[in-house]
């Protein structure tokens, strides 16, 4: 059974379709990235999964049931929304203690201390949260979300509004949870670099429908045309090489990147004939590397394609 199962999910607000027939699933132990621009429907999907909003049609199941009417099932789920869910007028320890008891954690005191350490806030444990920086609050929010050791963690833009240093810290914490604790993580984000580093599987949402859904590796492999980065033995022959390559039918595009040449091949073309041709022309190739597409390129491609077909 999938941890999350979304089937033909639709949601309309005041006659406007916000979600259009979403279908995806998240398996146990996966770190799932739900990507999309602002207004794509990510938060609405998350809220439906959490049982905070109703679906107009279709299903959003967590552990095989809807969280909307399963109060006790929510004990197995940890949530960090845009708001950290912590109280400025209470100390870090009081906040964690409150949630530990709400979730009926067996040894709340020990767990609170462990979570303070996890978030690196042991020394500030008794300070009011109102005096914390945004990064500290986010880390405390994450500690709060996992204090009951959930099997599934749902995150909404976990590094939004944080400085780069805090972003790295929060990202590392998420990686630790998925690695050491084998927690299933569902993460809403429009931070592509973050998703690329953290997630094993992604869905790209645009205007309420999923445009791509696969593992990051498969998306990279199957998206667009293959590319080669060449480093020539004699950089002075770069212009000649560019000229030659642009005439080959298997080459769709050439770009110069410093002393390297970036060659985009036509779909299905192998790289070896190109290298052979260069050597035949006495242009020595020192290094040839296959270039993977970044998630950002894939994302932009998918979004542009969706815009074009709309």
């Amino acid at each position: 059974m999938s941890v999350i199962e979304v089937r033909d999910l639709n949601r309309t607000f005041d006659g406007k379709k916000v979600l259009r027939g979403l279908n995806f699933s998240v398996e146990k132990g996966e770190v799932f990235g739900f990507l999309g621009p602002n207004g794509a429907g990510k938060t609405t999907t998350l809220r439906i999964l959490l049982g905070l909003l109703r679906a107009s049609s279709g299903e959003a199941l967590v552990f095989g049931a809807s969280l909307a009417n399963q109060d006790r099932l929510r004990r197995r789920v940890g949530v960090l929304l845009e708001n950290n869910g912590i109280y400025d007028r209470l100390s870090a320890r009081e906040n964690l203690d409150y949630y530990a008891r709400l979730y009926a954690v067996e040894e709340p005191r020990a767990q609170v201390e462990e979570m303070l350490e996890f978030a690196g806030l042991t020394e500030r444990a008794d300070d009011l949260v109102g005096t914390f920086s945004a990064g500290m609050k986010r880390k405390l929010g994450l500690a709060r979300a996992i204090i009951h050791d959930p099997e599934l963690l749902l995150l909404d833009e976990p590094t939004s509004g944080l400085d780069p240093e805090a972003q790295v810290l929060v990202r590392d914490l998420i990686l630790r949870l998925s690695g050491q604790e084998a927690m299933t993580v569902f993460m809403n984000s429009h931070h592509l670099a973050e998703v690329e580093r953290v997630c094993s599987k992604v869905a790209i949402l645009h205007h309420g429908s999923i445009q791509a859904f696969d593992t990051v590796e498969h998306l990279r492999a199957g998206s667009g045309m293959p590319r080669l980065s060449l480093s020539l033995a004699d950089p002075e022959k770069t212009a000649t090489a560019l000229d030659l390559l642009s005439q080959l039918p298997s080459v769709s595009r050439t770009e110069r990147e410093g002393n390297r040449i970036l060659v985009t091949l036509t779909r299905g073309s192998p790289a070896s004939p190109i290298l052979t041709r260069l050597i035949q022309e006495d242009i020595g190739v020192e290094e040839a590397t296959k270039v993977s597409r970044s998630l950002e390129e894939i994302y932009l491609g998918v979004v542009q394609e969706a815009e074009g077909s709309a």
Binding site: L53, L67, R72, R74, L102
Partner: protein, 232 residues
Amino acid sequence: MNGMLIVAQKEIRQILKSRNVLASAIIFVIVFGGFSSLSTLTSEGGGGPLDQLVFTLVPVLGIFMGYLFSSQAFLREKQGGIVETLLCSPLSLREIWMGKVIGVTVPAYGLTLLAAALILGLANSLSQMTLLPSLPLIAHLFTTVPLFIAATVGLLGFAQLLLGLRENQILNFAIIFALIFLLTMSQALFGSGFTISWVVVGSSLAIAILLLIATSWLTRFLDKERIVITIP
């Protein structure tokens, strides 16, 4: 511990840490409780007026405390978005609402009893004989007053969770006017000759219980979606 009581305990702790809100509540008690009783007690004499004053003024003060603290527990939490996280917890919406109502009612009632003690102290300091509240009045203070506060807090919490930001602003104005009206009414009742009998106390207790049941019934219409889409 029961989830509802955990919420209640947190609300009490938070209210006790909110110095500004506590200061406003105490100032209100002194200004309206102290000065109203001073002006009325100096113009009248004996135990009858004291009973009337405590009977009418103390519940109004309690309702005000409930209003003040419920804004912290319900409205502020909704405006800040924290309520959304709480709705994802294993507690039902009703348990959350009940927990908050208890958590707000306890400190509001505590301060209300202090206000009653202040009025009694002032009355005794102004009188040459010892003035003690009647038994029906004591029963009123320990039964009807907390129920009235709880019903008001429950109703306010219900409305604050249900309504959007603008509607809540309008509601706040309406409540302030209603409180002023209630204070004026309590002043008007004072000296009108009615006595605090067991029948009066029993009737007001019945009204408080009915109000509490009605408020509790209303929470059936509370809905997570409605709360979430009205978060500013």
